[in-house]
């Protein structure tokens, strides 16, 4: 053991010596008892990816699908304006580019192979970028896009000529859209965004704590 010659090395206390003995004994026991079931193992190998990686891939796939599929449908299928079609296409292409940059930057499939602090930092940066996306890009865009979409949709509807009835239908339409957007937003905020941010904060604190020892040691 190198640390035996290290002036900073700790003396093996009774507690640590006992724990070392217990761990060795436990590993010897596990080595004898733990058998790998071939069928379970094969299935596991086929699984290959974890949910974290899958979620990114699914999200890239859907953003690509929307970026390339939605604009032609809006323009040709729903006869919406060219400006709105271009706005939608440009935003989702930007979204796709953002997702791909994150994918490349974090090499998500291989993130766990890095040292523990680097992995924690990468996870934290990954969450921070998601936060930037949601707060500064995604939410403002969705508000503008939804408003514009409702406006475009109303233009394409065959509304009755009666001005009063027409106004009621439009208001109901806008009300339902806003309620839907609000409910969706709240679900997203409480089930995804808030827990993620709490987790990121916890990680920052842990990293700060462990890194502060470097300064202390100096």
């Amino acid at each position: 053991m190198n640390e035996n010659n290290n002036p900073l090395s700790i003396q093996e206390s009774d507690e640590l010596a006992t724990m070392k003995m217990q761990l060795k004994s436990l590993q010897a026991e596990l080595d004898k008892q733990t058998t790998l079931r071939e069928d379970v193992f094969r299935r596991l190998l086929k699984k290959r990816t974890n949910s974290f990686k899958n979620r990114e891939l699914i999200s890239i796939f859907f953003v690509a699908l929307v970026a390339f599929g939605l604009p032609p449908y809006l323009y040709l299928g729903m006869h919406m304006s060219l400006a709105f079609t271009l706005f939608t296409g440009l935003f989702f292409t930007f979204g796709l580019f953002w997702e791909l940059v994150i994918w490349r930057r974090f090499k998500i499939g291989n993130m766990m192979s890095l040292d523990l602090i680097t992995t924690a930092k990468n996870m934290q940066r990954y969450r921070k970028l998601n936060k930037v996306w949601l707060n500064q890009i995604g939410t403002p865009f969705i508000i503008v896009w939804l408003t514009w979409y409702i406006f475009e949709l109303i233009q394409t509807l065959n509304l009755p000529d009666d001005g009063h009835l027409r106004m009621i239908i439009i208001l109901i339409f806008i009300g339902c859209s806003l309620v839907g957007a609000l409910v969706g937003g709240l679900i997203g905020y409480f089930s995804f965004y808030k827990p993620q941010m709490k987790l990121a904060q916890e990680m920052i604190e842990q990293i700060k704590d462990i890194e502060s020892f470097d300064e202390e040691a100096e």
Binding site: I10, S25, T118, A217
Partner: protein, 163 residues
């Protein structure tokens, strides 16, 4: 099985005690051990291509398994803040049915009382790894490892006095 799968199977066979013991020390109950081992194996498989023997195999297995466990620990702490009780005593009984079971539980309880990074550091130290190796796996300096270990020793001493 493909040659790569065969190679990976051999690696897991050789390192299974390491993977299981780390997962046991981070798990709260029996089912969690299996979940953690599965997650660790998936991450090991994902990183297997890029490993290419650039570092010691045991250090790499430790790095991936500890990252998996620390990640899991954060998620669990976040989703289940109420579950603060110590390990289910029955979960280690599978490892040894004799008098050692009590010893394993004691080891598990002590390690569980430490924070996730300290848990990782002490497990690596108990494995007789050098400070340099521990520092490389955790991503901190050798001095930091020694200061951390000194504090962990103090914590363990206090636990011992309280028991």
């Amino acid at each position: 099985m493909s040659p790569k799968e065969q190679q990976f199977t051999r690696l897991v066979q050789d390192q299974k005690a390491t993977i299981y013991s780390v997962c046991l020390m981070f798990a709260d109950e029996r089912t969690e051990v299996d979940d953690l081992v599965q997650d660790a194996l998936i991450h090991l498989w994902e990183g297997f291509d890029s490993f290419e023997g650039r570092s010691d195999i045991k250090s790499w297995v430790y790095r991936v398994t500890l990252n998996t466990c620390i990640s899991f620990d954060r998620k669990r702490k976040h989703t289940d803040l109420v579950s603060l009780e110590l390990a289910d005593p029955s979960m280690l009984s599978g490892a040894d049915k004799g008098s050692n079971a009590k010893q394993y539980r004691m080891l598990h309880e002590r390690i569980q009382k430490l924070g996730p990074f300290d848990r990782a550091i002490v497990l690596l130290w108990l494995e007789d790894m050098s400070y340099e190796e521990i520092g490389a796996i955790v991503g901190i300096s050798v001095k930091n490892v020694s200061v951390r270990l000194m504090r962990i020793r103090e914590q363990l001493k206090n636990m011992n006095n309280q028991e």
